[in-house]
């Protein structure tokens, strides 16, 4: 089974503020890492690879330095990688990004499964996976907790997903797209040795033109939605202090927990 894993390089820290005058984002650090839920997707890919023959190719779209995320993924066991980097694709919304990723997957080869993290730590839209599936005209299951593959039932995979307090087993025909929730498994760790080995694993770079997409279809230009402003939250992340007797505080705590659980 050949598996494509879609990853995103996100900032290590979400410590971002907005310049009150220019409204530009000011990041505390430029350090990037693989999006946490994507590590769970890579782990699922590795577990499937152990059961079936085939290769795991990791894809990302980003600036040239996103190569670091791909090398990190290959240090975890992914066999090959593909970086889509082009000024034209930068700043795209979920629709424009999904188009680019789908085109890259198609160009790279045939895959039985496309995996990814359910939500990114920065934008947290949770949309790109299903959009890629739509572009590739394949079914998708998002926010899964795991998958089970039975070789005797070829062409199918079963995903486990929590939905309305139920645990669903969902069978899906391959090829398919599945995204995984953060924390659904315990991702393996790279070692010094696998880190070194990852430096010489294959990395293919695609530009927009190589994917056969026109600049008007991708990036900011190809995005139906645009960010027009950014601002700081009304109240900064400073705790609202609650006062009262221990009994009152306990009741308040219960209300807060129940309200959040209900959402």
């Amino acid at each position: 089974m050949n598996i494509a894993v879609l990853i995103k390089q996100v900032p290590v820290s979400n410590d971002v503020t907005v310049d009150p005058e220019t409204h530009a984002l000011v990041r505390a650090s430029s350090e990037g890492m693989i999006n946490p839920a994507d590590l769970n997707a890579i782990e699922e890919a590795m577990l499937l690879k152990e059961q079936t023959e085939g290769k795991v190719v990791v894809f990302t779209m980003g600036p040239p330095d996103a190569e670091k995320a791909l090398r990190d993924a290959m240090a975890l066991g992914c066999d090959e990688s593909c970086l889509i980097t082009d000024r034209a694709v930068a700043g795209g919304d979920t629709v424009a990004t999904a188009k680019v990723l789908a085109a890259a997957i198609k160009k790279y080869g045939e895959f039985d499964l496309i995996l990814g993290g359910a939500l990114s730590a920065d934008g947290a839209t949770g949309q790109v996976g299903a959009m890629v599936a739509e572009c590739l005209a394949i079914p998708h299951i998002v926010e899964a907790m795991g998958v089970k593959y039975d070789a005797s039932e070829s062409g199918k995979i079963v995903a486990v997903k929590k939905f309305h307090d139920k645990k669903l087993s969902i069978r899906c025909a391959l090829p398919a797209m599945i995204s995984f929730n953060f924390g659904c498994n315990e991702p393996r760790l790279a070692t010094l040795r696998t880190k070194r080995a990852a430096k010489s694993k294959p990395l293919v770079t695609y530009t927009n033109a190589e994917l056969g997409l026109s600049p008007g279809e991708v990036g900011i230009e190809g995005s139906p939605t645009v960010v027009v402003d950014s601002f700081s939250p009304k109240s900064g992340r400073k705790a609202a202090m609650l006062e009262g007797t221990p009994a009152e505080l306990a009741r308040k705590l219960k209300e807060l927990i129940e309200e959040e659980k209900g959402k």
Partner: protein, 386 residues
């Protein structure tokens, strides 16, 4: 008698320890510590906190300073468990050549003189008993004591801050100093980003890696540069070791346990100071909380561990971080007076702030409160760099 007004910039180990020591001059000083973020949260948090009885890197030159630090923290821990974050794992210092061997033997003699245990072991089986994952090839022997280990710099800073507050000191966190007011080469006070202005008789810079920028506010060129301390947290094969991993010191790197994980950091001695990747002047505000290590560190550490501690070379890489050791080019701290009257420094400790802060700030407090110098203050004076 009017109280002496003292402002301390920086709430790391140096600033909080100084605040505490000043607060011991019962009611004679009015002290405020300004911390722009959280107490002990910046380079102090990245300190490994090894306050070992065998001082390999400084060649035992300031052994009394080290001992004072060690014993101060032992007492802190005894007073309230966990308040210094002491983990008594013992220390193993490995001799890879005769010069190192000599330094280790000196350390053992000094530790014994202070009433601690220590021995120099050449029996390789015994070394392997202490650290089963070590390779004893190409080593002469190792110094070992069971009496020490490592502390937690952030815990200690918070404990000092608490004691300081209990003695009447004021800690302002989340407040950034934006201006140091100097008139006629004399410090007058400072301004903060919440729009406040303070009058002080003495202002002390305890900002470590930031001292270059802090000094500029007082019109001083503080000759601090940074060397990189790169570190990895390793998850050992099998996830948990069945022995206590001691503080482990080689000339090139050191290691210690962090829960079930192992922390490995590049040592000072493995730094190539002429390489701009290793040493230079950087903006510590841009330093990420995690990550940031350069690729060469992987190769460096893989080669080191394969040769020296092969049993853990296939550990998982849990996380990494990079810290700046801030120091002048002679690697000694800068302590005491500057050409600006009333503006003092307690900075440039390199990687040794946790070790040296108790003795250094004890002496600095005495200078501030009584005008009396000490040999340590003289050795680490700013004027040596002018």
């Amino acid at each position: 008698m009017a109280k002496k007004k003292i402002g301390i910039i920086g709430g790391g180990i140096s600033g909080t320890a100084l605040g505490y020591h000043l607060s011991l001059y019962d009611g004679e000083a009015e002290v405020i510590v300004f911390e722009k973020d959280t107490i002990g949260g910046a380079s102090t948090a990245k300190s490994a906190g090894t306050v070992c009885l065998f001082d390999d890197s400084l060649k035992n030159r300031y052994w009394d300073v080290r001992l004072y630090g060690f014993e101060s923290y032992l007492k802190m821990e005894a007073e309230e468990k966990g308040s210094a974050g002491f983990d008594k794992t013992g220390t193993l210092v490995v001799a890879t050549n005769e010069e190192v061997e000599k330094v280790i033997k000196t350390g053992i003699a000094l530790a014994k003189a202070a009433g601690y245990t220590g021995e120099y072991i050449t029996d390789k089986d015994r070394i392997k008993e202490i650290l089963p994952d070590i390779s004893t090839d190409n080593i002469l022997g190792a110094g070992y004591t069971a009496d020490d280990g490592y502390f937690d710099g952030t815990m200690i800073s918070n404990t000092y801050a608490k004691k300081f507050q209990k003695n009447g000191g004021i800690v302002k966190t989340g407040v950034k100093v934006t201006e140091v007011i100097v008139e006629n080469k004399k410090v007058k006070g400072l301004k903060t980003d919440d729009g406040q202005e303070y009058e002080f008789d003495v202002v002390v810079d305890c900002t470590g890696p930031w001292s270059k920028f802090t000094g500029e506010m007082a019109g001083l060129d503080v000759p601090i540069w940074h060397t990189k301390a790169e570190a990895f947290f390793l998850c050992p094969p099998g996830k948990k070791l069945d022995y206590t991993f001691p503080v482990l010191k080689y000339p090139e790197f050191y290691g210690l346990r962090a829960g079930d994980n192992i922390f490995i950091c590049k040592s000072h001695l493995s730094m190539d100071l002429s390489n701009p990747m290793h040493a230079g002047q950087w903006d510590p505000d841009k330093l990420p909380a995690t990550g940031g290590t350069d690729d060469y560190f992987i190769d460096f550490l893989l080669d080191q561990l394969e040769a020296k501690v092969p049993g853990i070379v296939d550990s998982g890489l849990v996380s990494s971080w990079l810290s700046y050791r801030a120091e002048p080019k002679d690697f000694w701290p800068i302590l005491g007076e500057t050409p600006v009257e009333g503006y003092m420094l307690s900075t440039g400790y390199g990687g040794n702030g946790v070790i040296e802060a108790p003795a250094a700030t004890r002496d600095l407090a005495k200078l501030i409160m009584r005008g009396e110098s000490t040999p340590l203050l003289e050795n680490w004076a700013f004027k040596r760099l002018l």
